[in-house]
């Protein structure tokens, strides 16, 4: 058992130096669904502690890009390097090493637009599920930590509740607690507030803002431009599967160069 665990912790590939290692590095990522080429060569780097906001119109490929990073979609071509470790791919883009994917996925916590909590488990059970069963942490320890996380997202009194009995905002905050429970190196948010009633958006953004402030590395797909401007260190604008423009938020929002981005910003504000 210990030897297997050690073997699992394969050393990162050589090209990364320990000091300035990117948390997520995407190189020339392509993805097609049948004949439809959704990503046409996207490269992107998120350093440790960066908050990268990904914006763009509907169908521009934002979700697809995020989902390729943890291989929920298999890329057609390109490279994904997580914390210096390149994900091994076959020629067709499918992961060559299932165990590597599973291990890396536990470091990339995903928060979904539709929450995707496990409906047959209470909030507490949802939060301890991955630590106990995937990461094999002792149950008591996982529960203690889960309780702290639920307090942190303001759900201390709901740990015995089932997801379907809660509001969307509460469910999404629980989903964030579930993500935090794995001590993720990177958090992936796919439009975490898009399924929420307007009056519930604020409570979720408050939690995410907190996480950004404590230096979490995050990739955040969002339609909340004001929020992106406020929390992001770097903003990426996707247009039809390509990065049309990127830079610090003040630049991208304050002084957009591309005409399409100008159009887009006008249309969403």
């Amino acid at each position: 058992m210990p030897s297997a665990a050690l073997a699992d912790q394969a050393p990162p590939t050589a090209q990364a130096t320990a000091t300035q290692r990117a948390a997520v590095q995407v190189e020339d990522l392509h993805k097609s669904f049948g004949n439809l080429e959704v990503l046409k060569g996207v490269s992107l780097t998120a350093k440790q502690g960066d908050v990268v906001a990904i914006i763009g119109g509907s169908g521009s490929g934002k979700s697809t890009m995020l989902r390729c990073i943890n291989f929920l979609e298999t890329p057609s071509a390109g490279k994904i390097i997580i914390d210096g470790e390149e994900i091994e791919m076959r020629a067709d883009g499918s992961p060559a090493n299932r165990r590597q994917i599973e291990r890396i996925r536990t470091r990339l916590a995903m928060v979904f637009q539709s929450f995707n909590l496990w409906s047959h488990r209470t909030l507490l059970e949802n939060v301890i599920e991955v630590p106990v069963h995937v990461l094999k942490q002792p149950r008591a320890e996982a529960i203690a930590k889960a309780r702290k996380l639920l307090v942190r997202v303001g759900l201390a009194d709901k740990e015995e509740a089932f997801p379907a009995f809660l509001s969307g905002g509460q469910q999404q905050r629980a989903a964030i607690a579930r993500a935090l429970a794995v001590d993720p190196g990177v958090m992936l948010f796919d439009e975490p507030t898009s399924a929420l009633d307007p009056e519930l958006v604020g409570e979720v953004l408050t939690v995410i803002r907190d996480l950004a402030a404590e230096g979490r590395t995050m990739l955040l797909v969002t339609h909340e431009m004001r929020f992106a401007r406020e929390v992001a260190d770097h903003v990426v604008y996707l247009y039809q599967g390509r990065i049309e423009e990127q830079g610090p938020p003040a630049e991208v929002f304050g002084n957009p160069k591309s005409e399409r981005l100008q159009q887009f910003l006008k249309s969403v504000s």
């Binding site: 943890n70 929920l72 299932r98 994917i101 599973e102 291990r103 890396i104 996925r105 536990t106 990339l108 916590a109 995903m110 979904f112 539709s114 929450f115 995707n116 909590l117 496990w118 409906s119 047959h120 488990r121 599920e129 991955v130 069963h133 995937v134 089932f162 997801p163 379907a164 009995f165 579930r178 794995v182």
Partner: protein, 249 residues
Amino acid sequence: MIILEWLGLAESAALLSLSAPGWGSNLLRGLANSLQIAFGAFGMGLIIGLFGAYGKLYGGPVLRDLLAIYTTVIRAVPELVLILILYYVGTDLINKAAALMGYGRVEISGVVAGIWVLGIVQGAYATEVLRGAILAVPPGQIEAARAYGMPALMTMRRVTIPAMMAFATPGLANLWLIATKDTALLAVVGFNELTLETKQAASSTRAYFTFFLAAGGLYLMVTLCSGAVFARIEKWARRGQPSLREGRS
């Protein structure tokens, strides 16, 4: 006793008495055999159904076609015919195989044969019930399991199967009741389950009405008890689903 006498039921009570010359213990033995087969067949059906459902949903084209043939044929042919076919063909095949390997005739236990025959029938229905239930699980929940690094088998054990139980229990409850009643069909191959025991008791005593009414009562009791058990199971399986009656909180 006096009340029974007065109702004219003393004779029936004597016939149904558990001690000889009553036939009550024969009936109960038949019931026990029926339940044993129903349990076995239902369990076997669940296992076949789980593999069948996963095969139909995620298997390759060949496996999917084979499963489609299995479920279609089994559900198309009347159960009585299937039981005759599976029982005689099954025992014949086993004996041929035994002969090939140099053994003599194999005595096949009625219970085991009954479980196999009904289990194969149940499996076809369970495949469809469980396939429907798996499809009813929101795909996002399975995706979340994948996204957090759960291996496929763990996802099945920790997420898909418990989540689908909410949708599968009503169909499975039906299957269980069908299993208890299908055991009666095994009477045609001479297996001593409740119906055959009843028939033997009835024809030896000519008290057809008494015995078949008693057997009907036993089947009804099985159904009522099963209903209570499945109601609890369903309540547990649906613990995460808001109830339609109470509305959402």
